[in-house]
Symmetry: C2
Subunit: 371 residues, 2 copies
């Protein structure tokens, strides 16, 4: 098996657990947040900067790499790790979510999805088998099954059909996936319908994947609804497999989901926020372009050890952002990744010391207000 | 004196010399190329990356910093070094060149220059005294006199008046400049007219500055014309003061000007070129976005020790540039600065070994063809 997951310790009064995920490119400590490197680069950051920040795994996007530079080019480079010079673990998504997001540019059938490239309008087709082939070419440590992610809101009938299709596709993915140094995760769907979620979980777990994605959440529903789905779903998921909540990355959601037993997360939000000049702090998000920071010569966060906070002032970063200088979004990106990496580190320490509930209460007293 | 310049050795059969320039923020070995950090940042690069590349001094632009964030903000931060976290030497230009480049947005009088900001159209006035005040606020190691840079072509009468004005302004700058930990360089003008160049040199040298800029070259004239001006001008400049050829940075011009006795250079060209996806190599400039590099998994230059060449392939950098990813222009910028820094290092070694003529001949056999 390319993957070994060990539950190191469990929180007594929550569902949180501390885990250790061994992959061909190294060990990941869970709960973990994975920064997103859509096009084989975490936007604005260099691999050595991510290593310095303690990032243990990144996510990259199959749809984007398939279109550009082409998975054949990445394979010829020796795989995604070599291509982008990132020697730690990588997870690739299946391409499904991006393809479905194309709206009128795509049509779904039992066989797969026909779509037109958002880059040049060219016609393409991705099936479960094709997604597996692309992901095997990319060579990430963890690949994801090709699923259909139902939108929110969606009626029960649509979500049921979508969930059934996802199960049939999961089987085809499992058959098509043959790369022995890569783990394939199944994905649970079922929208906001508890019975469909349960059906999906049982069907997907029946296939016995080495890990499970929880898809179709954080797609526009209220946060409380997401937490309710997790409250119902996680207890029927196996204890000894990593649970990955896809597309979630705001600080409050991370902590709430860890409390509910989730191990892995990814989201473009913290890095996208950074490129819009917003930095995450213990006092909430801060629009550093604003005038009050023009003569603020303190760092973004006094207690943060990232390169941005150790070397530059809010006033300087504001100047860079106002002047459209790349270094500005580099520094906000570094800080936001540092913030989430440190948050997950603290969460792990709190689980180990069995004081996660207190930690969460303190933390959410600021971030929980953003619901 | 805030500056000490020592000629370490001289080339026997050229005018080149190896120098050592001591400043309040450290020693610079000359001949030296100064990357340009227009808005208090060398575009796309972080200070630690420039340090890693062996950059010993950068240039920053008074006009831009005066408008944004304002020299008062920089002064309040503790000066430009602290503001941008660059602890090695800095040279600031006078703002003159940028202001004159505004064309219809400015009017020149004996007193100074009235102009409108290119950012918001607001009205401003910079005089020699104001330029000194701004540069003293910025606190670079080397400030430049406020001069008028005549365009090319320009008739003799215009250039003479402009040169005379530059001399009068140089005196006013010298009077107004009072910062003891900052050196002020005079600037020789005179366009392409040899007699005016000589007059300007004698007038400016009469004022006894600790270093001299050569302005008004590389403004559109043929390269041979620039070399002829240097051939005439440099021999009448003092041996014991640094000579700074402003705005020059293509590899062939650097080598040709070093042969003619120039010690310092700056230019936006190598970093601007990088942002357009062009990398400088021993084989000439290379448009790395081009199709032939799509599956070229070799580095930009096999023998280059920069972060880009040590870690990434042409194919990957091409992918980043095609995909509009910031890391692409970060890597091309790093490489181009590395190329020029290494070139100047080699030039210094060649002077020390008194084999600069041979070195130049070999080097210019590639780059000299671009005239």
């Amino acid at each position: 098996m390319p993957l070994k997951f060990t539950v190191v310790s469990e929180s007594k009064n929550t569902r949180a657990r501390l885990g250790r995920l061994e992959t061909p490119h190294g060990v990941i400590q869970t709960p973990v947040f994975m920064p997103v490197g859509t096009q084989a680069t975490v936007k604005t950051a260099a691999p050595r900067e991510l290593e310095d920040l303690g990032v243990e795994i990144i996510l990259s996007n199959t749809y984007h790499l398939y279109l550009r530079p082409g998975s054949d080019v990445v394979a010829e480079a020796g795989g995604l790790h070599k291509f982008m010079n990132w020697n730690r673990p990588i997870l690739t998504d299946s391409g499904g979510f991006q393809v479905f997001s194309l709206g009128p540019l795509r049509t779904i059938s039992e066989e797969g999805v026909h779509f037109r490239s958002h880059l040049d309008g060219s016609k393409h087709f991705i099936s479960p088998e094709k997604s597996m082939q692309i992901q095997m070419d990319l060579g990430a440590d963890i690949a994801m099954a090709f699923d259909e992610c139902a939108p929110y809101p969606a009626d029960r009938d649509y979500v049921k059909k979508s969930k059934d299709l996802t199960t049939r596709w999961a089987k085809r993915c499992q058959t098509a996936h043959t790369r022995s140094d890569q783990a394939l995760f199944g994905i649970v769907q079922g929208g906001m319908y508890k019975d469909l979620r349960k059906e999906s979980a049982l069907e997907i777990m029946e296939l016995d994947f080495p890990g499970y994605g929880i898809g179709g959440l954080s797609v526009g529903e209220p946060k409380d609804m997401m937490y309710e789905v997790l409250d119902d779903l996680v207890p029927i998921m196996p204890r000894d497999k990593p649970r990955y909540l896809m597309g979630v990355g705001s600080p409050d959601c991370l902590v709430e989901a860890v409390l509910r037993g989730v191990d892995m997360f990814d989201c473009v939000w913290p890095t996208r926020l950074a490129r819009h000049g917003m930095v995450i702090t213990r006092q909430g998000n801060m629009a550093i372009r604003n005038l009050p920071f023009a003569r603020d010569f303190t760092p973004i966060e006094e207690e943060c050890s990232c390169y941005a906070c150790q070397n530059f002032s809010r006033a300087y970063i504001r100047h860079l952002l106002k002047a459209g200088e790349v270094l500005g979004i580099r520094l906000t990106t570094i800080h936001n990744i540092a913030f989430l990496t440190r948050l997950m580190q603290e969460v792990r320490e709190a689980i180990a010391a069995d004081r996660l509930l207190e930690y969460s209460r303190d933390f959410l007293s600021v971030f929980g207000t953003e619901k």
